[in-house]
């Protein structure tokens, strides 16, 4: 088989390796920085079954089921997604699998697009699942292959843990394109796979046995690079790449031990390289997962060394040369002088809702509708999606957004503790991910709240993956679950939107029951992908424009800009959606130009 080379991001490399390893079932839920893994599996392996599941738990179970039947399963999620899938994940370590199961945990160190930067290597320690960590893009490919091999060899799940600068770094990767999906067959082994207490107790023993065997095996998955002296630096993951470059540049000679499996760290891996060593530095990104294990091994084997780790290398944020060098140089008694210049403190440039985004219109309508019933100061229980940006001015319509599906549970708690009717705001994909149970709870426990579903027909934030809302009607779901008040409105129709919000609020106040209103209009980026020809454009009639500022300061479409005389103008980024037309109280905005074929259908998908 001739190796090929391709310039690709780490996530593509992982997808290629999964296909090469014979993956037959791959599932996930989109989330940065994991999304491109599942997206690319299909590209490398057109005959692999690939699925965007409704959430990470289902995705996990899908891959787990494939592995249970002897097939090769892949589940790829972001770090917080693994929290959602953690229930079956712990079970998978008990039962083991017949085929192979690789779990990619794409951790977002520095929180580029996440609510936290949890270090999922702890899941490995907690659930007894080995964790392999690539240190660059090529090793992401190589170690993905290894992860499938280890899983198949020991009939045990394996976590491949990446961080943002593995998955979202582009480099030339050498790979092979051989593949043949390894599918399963129906295997009946209830004594293993039915975790009734008696089976679970027997599985537990086998799990611990496998854990010992795996631990022994993993001692070979490391690279020892001796370079003299009585110090050793133990490292893994992306930190290794920073370390190697820093040592070379600074001309520091020291022994380096890179562990490709950072959980569990076998005793032999450390003890084989510790003779004559007096000083140890553990260098790792985020939490002291390696450090704890290494310290434990040294202590239990009576190795008295000077030991450093998180006292020199910060826990917080992704690895950088600045963090590494400050700690590394301190370890060697040298001084690191950082950069000379400082970033200019400019006005922050937060991400913004796109031109044509229906969420902007929804937030505008919600605010106006609630004002009609003096509820504009309600608690806005928000959620995870593009609409989380509604927390920013001028809208400020997300008072919390803590985790996927949080809007409904948090709003229930806020209502119970304050007796004030809250507004829960959730997107369509998030609704099916983990909001739907919150609706059931609102009916079951009778929560007086306004539930606004922003249905843009898409899992938009991660790049317009499909959403279950295109197959299942959210209104019907809510009615079937016992919500008596369900209305749908078009967010671009300001009057209808305001009225829908006002009437729902009045209903909730009167009946003290939950109401659902659904703002339904497609994601603008999805619309643009569906039409071929030029879109119309909106224009401001400067004779009518009074410079009232509503369109650019209160509606804040990025295409609408203020002129020096405070009047508005609309630039080339306008997509002609027309949402601003009704926003202008002076009828100064109009849309000109032909609508392309399929325009209305795309918006109303």
């Amino acid at each position: 088989m001739m190796p090929k080379a391709k310039f690709m991001i780490g996530n593509e490399a992982i997808a290629a390796a999964a296909v090469h390893a014979g993956v037959s079932v791959a599932a996930g839920y989109p989330g940065t920085p994991s999304t491109e893994i599942i997206e690319n599996v299909r590209k490398f392996g057109p005959d692999v079954y690939v699925e965007w599941s409704v959430n990470e738990k289902i995705a996990f179970e899908t891959a787990y089921g494939a592995a249970m039947s002897g097939g090769t399963g892949l589940v790829a999620v972001k770090h917080v997604g693994l929290n959602v899938a953690s229930d079956p994940m712990f079970s998978s370590s008990y039962t083991g699998i017949t085929g192979s199961l690789v779990i990619v945990s794409a951790d977002d160190s520095s929180m580029w697009s996440s609510q936290n930067e949890q270090d999922n290597r702890f899941y490995g320690l907690h659930a007894l699942i080995p964790v392999l960590e690539p240190y660059d893009v090529q090793s992401a490919y190589d170690l993905t292959l290894k992860a499938f091999e280890v899983s198949r060899l020991f009939h045990h799940p394996v976590i491949l843990r990446t961080t943002t600068r593995i998955g979202h770094v582009r480099s030339n990767v050498i790979y092979e394109d051989h593949h043949e999906p390894l599918r399963g067959k129906v295997i009946k082994d209830p004594n293993t796979y039915v975790l009734a207490p008696e089976n679970a107790r027997s599985d537990r023993k086998k799990q611990l046995e496998r854990w010992r065997e795996i631990s022994d095996y993993l001692s070979s998955l490391c690279s020892y690079e001796p370079d003299g002296g009585d110090s050793i630096i133990i490292t893994g993951g992306i930190s290794y790449s920073y370390l190697k470059e820093a040592l070379e540049d600074a001309g520091i000679h020291t022994n380096v031990l890179r562990l490709d499996a950072t959980v569990p760290i076998p005793e032999s891996a450390i003890l084989n390289h510790i003779n004559g060593i007096r000083r140890v530095l553990v260098v790792e990104e985020n939490d002291p997962v390696m450090e704890m294990q290494v310290a434990d091994i040294l202590l239990r084997n009576g190795k008295a060394v000077e030991f450093h780790g998180k006292d020199l290398i910060p826990i917080e944020g992704e690895m950088t040369f600045e963090k590494l060098k400050a700690g590394l140089f301190a370890f060697f008694g040298m001084k690191y002088s950082g950069s000379y210049f400082q970033d200019e403190p400019l006005t922050p440039r937060p991400p913004a809702l796109c031109p044509g985004c229906p969420h902007r219109s929804s937030f505008f309508d919600i605010k106006k509708g609630l004002s009609r019933v003096s509820m504009q100061n309600s608690f806005f229980s928000g959620d995870i999606g593009c609409y989380t940006l509604g927390a920013l001015p001028p809208f400020r319509e997300q008072d919390s957004a803590t985790n996927m599906g949080s809007s409904l549970g948090i709003s229930n708690g806020v209502f119970r503790s304050t007796d004030q009717v809250p507004v829960a705001v959730i997107g369509d994909s998030t609704f099916f991910h983990s909001g739907i149970e919150g609706v059931a709870n609102a009916v079951y426990n009778n929560t007086a709240e306004i539930i606004v579903v922003l249905d843009n027909r898409s899992t938009a934030m991660t790049g317009q993956q499909p959403s279950p809302s295109t197959a299942i009607d959210i209104g019907n779901v809510c009615r079937a679950m016992g919500i008596e008040y369900v209305e749908t409105f078009d967010p671009f129709d300001v009057d209808a939107g305001e009225k829908a919000v006002q009437q729902a609020a009045e209903y909730v106040k009167k009946t003290l029951k939950p109401a659902v209103i659904i703002a339904k209009r497609a994601c603008a980026l999805e619309v643009l992908e569906k039409v071929d020809s030029e879109t119309p454009k909106a224009y401001v009639d400067s004779n009518r424009c009074t410079g009232c500022t509503i369109c650019y300061d209160f509606f804040t479409c990025p295409s609408i800009l203020p002129l020096s005389n405070k009047k508005a103008t609309i630039d080339d980024s306008c997509i002609g959606c027309g949402a601003c037309v009704e926003v202008c109280p002076f009828n100064a905005i109009s849309v000109k130009g032909e609508k392309p074929a399929g325009w209305e259908e795309a918006w109303n998908a």
């Binding site: 080379a5 660059d136 600068r165 770094v169 400082q342 006005t347 650019y552």
Partner: protein, 202 residues
Amino acid sequence: MGGGMERINILLAGVGGQGIITMGKMIGNAAVNSGIKVFVAETHGLSQRGGSVQVHIRIGNVMAPLIEKGKADYIVGLEASEALRNLSYAGKGTVFILNKQTIKPVVPKVNTPDLEIVLQRLHGFRYYLVDGERIARDAGNPKGSNAVLIGFMVGMGFFGEMQKKAFEMAMITDPNVRCFNAGYAEAMTAKKTDAPEKIVTG
């Protein structure tokens, strides 16, 4: 592939939606076409929607993806003011390549950053101001200012041994190749006349 070439650190700064990730891809592909090791570090997700975006490009004998602060050889402001937001990556010898464009942050009651103020703050640095939008428009691809800036940098000789051909092959579309060549021509003119180059010593 690997060493063999001196290290080049390029920080691209701009606004999500400007084509900054594509710009990183194009430069990265040119390095691959030249047989030189390269890392391009991107941020995805929310950063794509009108927010500040940075792409780190490291070429040559490199192992890690992110540039060390103070060590960028070139800072490219695809949106001029975004270069300032990343000043900590500059050292005394850093060269700035600024696209002559400023974009208003999508925040109420905030004005578009003033280009003159941006240039004042860069007092003491060597910088080039390139009218990427105009050059791209004239070359027939209004969205090709990223390719224009690459062409300009190649024309100025900022990419060491990497050949012009390697970049042309990396431009993805023909309109981009035209923009690239227009940027290249702009650099040739600049070298002759010194016109768009500003070197202000403090």
